[in-house]
């Protein structure tokens, strides 16, 4: 059961004038955690620190007490970036089969792939990844992220560019991934979407943690998330 701990975390990219994250401290327990904030608030940076693809400038990030890179090597993770990126020359079946190989599950046919049923991608098995629609790519990404049954899922703007039906489908898929021993971090601009699915919402503003709500409070108490967002982030939110 992973617990994510941020202790006075700061991150500044080389040649950047301001910190992407500044003195962020929080502890996140299993459940769906929504991360909201304006453009440049530090949402994606937070996910990159957890993936281990960026290192903190100050402070520390731990997952179950381990440094993120060590945790990733031991347990694997599920990460979906803001823009889909695949080895475009592969078919869906080749791609998912390869990732299953890393996760130690052997190389199954797509029909044996339980995840394929869950995300309605059986019919896409022979399709090249480059030919998929955005909605189909998002489904394949989620299936790929779940390979190896990782206890930590990091989703960066997963509903970007999707039509309402695809958003609803993805929402159902994310909810289906919820488990008592899994942390699912969803960074999103879609406040109403997060309000529907998140057990906890964390709000960032220009790298600073400005708010955090848990349980029902995140969903329906004291006004909508958008109202809080406007109140806390104010006029500089774009």
């Amino acid at each position: 059961m992973p617990t994510l701990r941020f202790d006075s975390v700061s991150l500044r990219y080389p040649r950047a004038s301001a910190s992407a994250l500044a003195d962020v401290s929080m502890t996140l327990a299993p459940g769906i955690v929504g991360i909201v904030g304006a453009n440049g608030a530090g949402k994606s940076s937070l996910l990159k620190l957890l993936l281990g693809s960026r290192k903190v400038t100050a402070g520390s990030v731990t997952i179950d007490g381990d440094e993120p890179s060590l945790y990733r090597r031991r347990h694997g993770m599920g990460f979906i970036p803001e823009k889909p990126a695949f080895p475009d020359y592969l078919t869906v079946a080749e791609f998912l089969g390869g990732l299953r190989m890393i996760a130690g599950a052997g190389l199954p046919t797509l029909s044996e792939h339980a995840l394929a049923d869950s995300f309605a991608i059986n019919e896409l098995g022979a399709a090249r990844l480059s030919t998929l629609s955005l909605g189909q790519k998002r489904r394949v990404e989620l299936a790929a992220a779940l390979i190896g049954d990782p206890p930590l899922l990091l989703l960066d703007e997963p509903t970007n560019g999707l039509d309402p039906l695809a958003v609803a489908s993805l929402r159902a898929s994310i909810l289906a991934c919820r488990r008592p021993d899994r942390v699912i971090l969803v960074a999103s601009h879609h406040l109403d979407e997060l309000q529907r699915i998140a057990d906890r919402v964390v709000m960032l503003d220009r790298g600073h943690l400005v708010g955090s709500w848990g349980g029902d409070d995140a969903r329906d108490q004291a006004g909508s998330l958008e109202t809080r967002f406007r109140a806390l982030v104010g006029s500089h939110a774009s």
Binding site: L51, R74, M77, A85
Partner: protein, 252 residues
Amino acid sequence: MPVEQLRLPATLGLSWQVARWKRVVPARLGGAALLVPCVLFFLPLGDFGWFQNWRHGARVAISLSAVAATVALGRDSAAPQPSEFWVYQKGLSLADWGLARWLLDMALVTTILSVWLVAFWAASFVAGDPERLREIAALVAWLLLLQMSIGSLLFVIGATGSSRGTEYSVLLFFLTLLQPLIAHAAAPPWVGAVANAALPPIHPALDVRAGIMTGATFLSIMPPLLHVGAYVTLMLVAGTFLLARRRPEEGA
């Protein structure tokens, strides 16, 4: 690096690289282009005036083709890919992944070179000038050393994150051809020494070939052989070190 550590990335790499070979590089068009040298060997190359005889022309053709095949297939082996965060997030080391892909690409180049050598050998009979075993052995050694020199250079260029492996390697290859001139013109001896150490060891590889051709003792071809071996090892170690420090660009 333990062989066991490379087993998983190599198995995965084979599954994905075969798809890449079929659909991206060399794909169908490149595959057809790979047959061109086989046709060239059967032409009367000695009659063109550019070469001393058929044998000279065929050797130049197979050497240039080896460079072209190594560059075409090895330029992206260790270069960053926007999708490498997928293997990274599942716990695979990018150094193991890059090295496995490079080894597979080099294995394909070696396979292609083997086919060309068989065609070359067959063509030597058709040309009425059959190659002797020692000449074939010298050519095999030369082509392998040439491939590894260029391939290891491409590996380290790719590992730096550069996508201009083709340009840099072709530039360095031609600088290497000019190396004797550089060494001759350079007043301070250290310039020649630096050029000798930094540039791909094409001339030492040629020395190995000449040594085998003339039946020189193994001890006498050891120095150039060690030079090539040291260069390739250094490039692979440097490339692996750089790959180990690389972080994936998520969805870039």
